[in-house]
């Protein structure tokens, strides 16, 4: 339940699906539908749902089988089985297998509301416990923008321009591109630079925690609110408020924020007194908000408020020229932090870093440098110190769809690692040279091009 509450409705009957989705959307939840077990399992791979409604009888993969997979792979998602009158026994079986509850079609309105409320409350508690544990483990880190590539130079001059005015800014860019650094730079160059810079990641809180984080609360606003607390809106007075992952803000809170932006005042949770605020708003997202507006999961009026100026932060693969500078920047930092005598990076290692497409962007490069520095035995980082970035498939967000595509990508990378040396590559791939030659021809790969 980090950010918005997300619900998946799995039922092969279109009218049931539409009816339930429609009802849940009226409560402002982000709801999607799947017409069968197979589609549901596909959707679960790309997105985490807080609550899943599962029809027991479906033609392709039945609800019980999907339930087993959910319990095994996504243990934090709540599952509710939907059944027709005829299959009460199956529903009981589902409860034994770990379903959180079940409903018989058609539902009593009260049953449905109470069930959804109860489960989301349980989910909230689970998530808050996870958050508490993770909070202790995370390490804070600060860094600056680095880059001499053309697109970064354009970005820098854009920041200069934007800093002169006071309008809201929306930063768009993939995860790990350094959107917070851009926001900080805008703040640092603006008239508000002597005021505070207050960042908050909207995707890192449950809905109710996010509300009190943003708006603050008065004593006794809810159980546990033993003393009044200032929210980030108040802290940002005179400065810049940075809302990261704005796409995760629940619809209802979008209304509250829209109101703050229009009226320049708000009140704390559980409070009645108006508090006037004056801050500059910078937001960031990796989501495609115009598409979310079409789907009704993001408010159009709120979007237009945020998006007075839009800045795109380029992914690392579009500024490969910056990689040597960035790599050295991170090397300096980790050398100091780890006290290891790593003095530089070999050219071949830099070439290798520039041949990779960095789906996790600057953050992935930063992590790669940290790992290389920690594990390195030499005074200079070599290509071998970075070989792991090609091996870990899990960080690859632009995951190829077909087996063919996968094979092509893999061969390309291995060839790059081996400087286009066919024998070496064939050895690593555990195929003979002829086979590799044939594959290169088949996929129209040019070993000389992929070589550094």
């Amino acid at each position: 339940m980090m950010g918005r509450i997300k619900i998946l409705v799995v039922d092969d009957e279109l009218i049931v699906r539409e009816s339930l989705i429609g009802w849940l959307r009226k409560s402002g939840y982000e709801v999607q539908g799947a017409e069968g077990g197979r589609q549901a399992l596909e959707m679960l791979k790309t997105k985490e749902y807080d609550l899943i409604f599962l029809d027991i009888k479906m033609p392709d993969i039945g609800g019980l089988e999907v339930l087993d997979r959910v319990k095994a792979d996504y243990p934090y998602s709540m599952a509710v089985m939907i059944t027709a009158y005829a299959s009460v026994e199956t529903a009981v079986e589902a409860m034994k297998r770990g379903a959180n509850d079940y409903l018989m079609k058609p539902f009593e309105p009260e049953q449905l509301t109470l069930l959804v409320e109860k489960l989301l409350q349980q989910k909230k508690l689970i998530d808050e416990n996870i958050l508490l544990r993770e909070h202790v483990a995370t390490r804070m880190r600060y860094e600056n923008l680095v880059g001499s590539s053309e697109c970064m130079q354009q970005l820098f001059s854009l920041i200069e321009e934007v800093a002169k005015v006071d309008s809201p800014v929306l930063l768009r860019g993939e995860t790990g591109t350094g959107k917070e650094l851009v926001a900080k730079a805008i703040h640092a160059k603006s008239e508000r630079r002597y005021g505070p810079f207050i960042p908050i990641n909207c995707g890192a809180f449950t809905e109710s925690l996010l509300e009190s984080e943003l708006f603050g609360h008065e004593t006794g606003a809810f159980t546990g609110a033993t003393r009044a607390k200032k929210g980030r809106l108040e802290m940002a007075e005179g400065g810049t408020l940075f809302l990261d992952e704005i796409g995760e803000i629940p619809l209802k809170m979008q209304v509250d924020l829209l109101r703050v932006l229009e009226e320049k005042k708000f009140h704390r949770v559980g409070g009645a007194k108006d508090i006037a605020v004056d801050f500059r708003l910078v937001c960031a997202t990796h989501r495609n908000l115009p598409r979310e507006i079409e789907q009704g999961t993001f408010r159009k009026d709120f979007y237009f408020r945020l998006n007075v100026i839009e800045i795109e932060v380029p992914p690392l693969r579009r500024r490969l020229d910056d990689i040597p500078a960035l790599a050295h920047h991170f090397l300096d930092r980790f050398r100091r932090e780890t006290n290891k005598p790593v003095m530089g990076i070999q050219q071949k290692a830099l070439d290798l870093l520039q041949s990779y497409d960095w789906p996790g962007n600057v953050r992935e490069l930063e992590n790669a440098l940290e790992r290389a520095v920690v594990l390195s035995k030499g005074r200079h980082l070599s290509r071998d110190d970075f070989a792991f970035i090609f091996r870990s498939g899990t960080t690859d967000l632009s995951f190829p769809n077909s087996l063919k595509e996968m094979e092509k990508k893999h061969i390309e990378r291995i060839l790059a690692m081996c400087d286009g040396n066919i024998s070496k590559a064939a050895g690593l791939l555990e195929v003979n040279r002829t086979t590799l030659h044939n594959k290169i021809k088949k996929y129209r790969l040019k070993p000389s091009d992929t070589a550094s």
Binding site: S19, K26, F107, E108, E110, L112, V255, L258
Partner: protein, 217 residues
């Protein structure tokens, strides 16, 4: 609780089945007073045939909405059907009313509002009050309002008449703000769509500005 400022949105009310003129007038007056919108009566309207669900002996509210929003009432961006039919949707055993989220049509039924949960009849005033509350709730859905957690706000979801009775005939501050925003956006949209049309005569303007619901049926 905050009051919504008046707006130029026009809503047309149709009667589906027999509900009675007083019920219609009460609902209209409440829509005008609380939402600040203009309301006209558009007369009786037939029940779409496909809406009847023989196996449940009820009427599918979603199908009624689909039918209504396809009807040509060019002057009315929002249509509300008032009915005495027993309404349901595919996943729920009954509904008091239903609306297209951010869409054009809403339907409200008095069928389940005349009695309490224990079967006792309620006074006619209480019945009208319930009808008005459900109508305000559903029309607000067509203005993109979601269900609200404030237990006394009109947008709080009520599954039973007892809960409905507890509601104030008002929107909470957040919902009132949301309504204001939606109504303003709608008015702007409407104005830009009709900007190129010839200017209305003063007579026409006077007629359209006439206060209060006018019975046209």
């Amino acid at each position: 609780m905050t009051k919504v400022k008046p707006s130029t949105l026009r809503l047309g009310i149709v009667e589906m089945g027999r509900l009675g003129e007083i019920a219609l007038r009460v609902v209209a007056a409440n829509l005008q007073a609380v939402l600040g919108i203009e309301v006209d009566f558009l007369g009786p309207h037939e029940v779409p045939e496909n809406a009847y669900q023989a196996h449940r002996q009820q009427f599918d509210a979603g199908l009624i909405l689909k039918h209504l929003s396809g009807c040509a009432f060019p002057k009315y961006p929002r249509i509300l059907a008032l009915t005495n039919l027993d309404l349901c949707i595919p996943i729920l055993t009954y509904v008091f009313g239903e609306a297209e989220m951010g869409g054009r049509a809403a339907v409200v039924s008095g069928f389940r509002l005349r009695h309490n949960e224990d079967g006792t009849a309620v006074s006619i005033d209480r019945y009208y009050e319930r009808l008005a509350k459900v109508a305000l709730h559903e029309v607000a859905h067509t203005l993109s309002l979601y269900h609200c957690e404030e237990s006394l706000c009109l947008m709080h979801f009520s599954s039973k008449v007892g809960q409905l009775d507890k509601l104030h005939i008002l929107f909470c501050e957040r919902c009132a703000f949301m309504l204001q925003t939606s109504l303003r956006n709608l008015a702007e949209e409407f104005a830009s769509r009709h900007r190129k049309k010839p200017v209305k005569s003063d007579k026409q303007k006077a007629r359209e500005a006439r206060p209060g619901p006018s019975l046209r049926s």
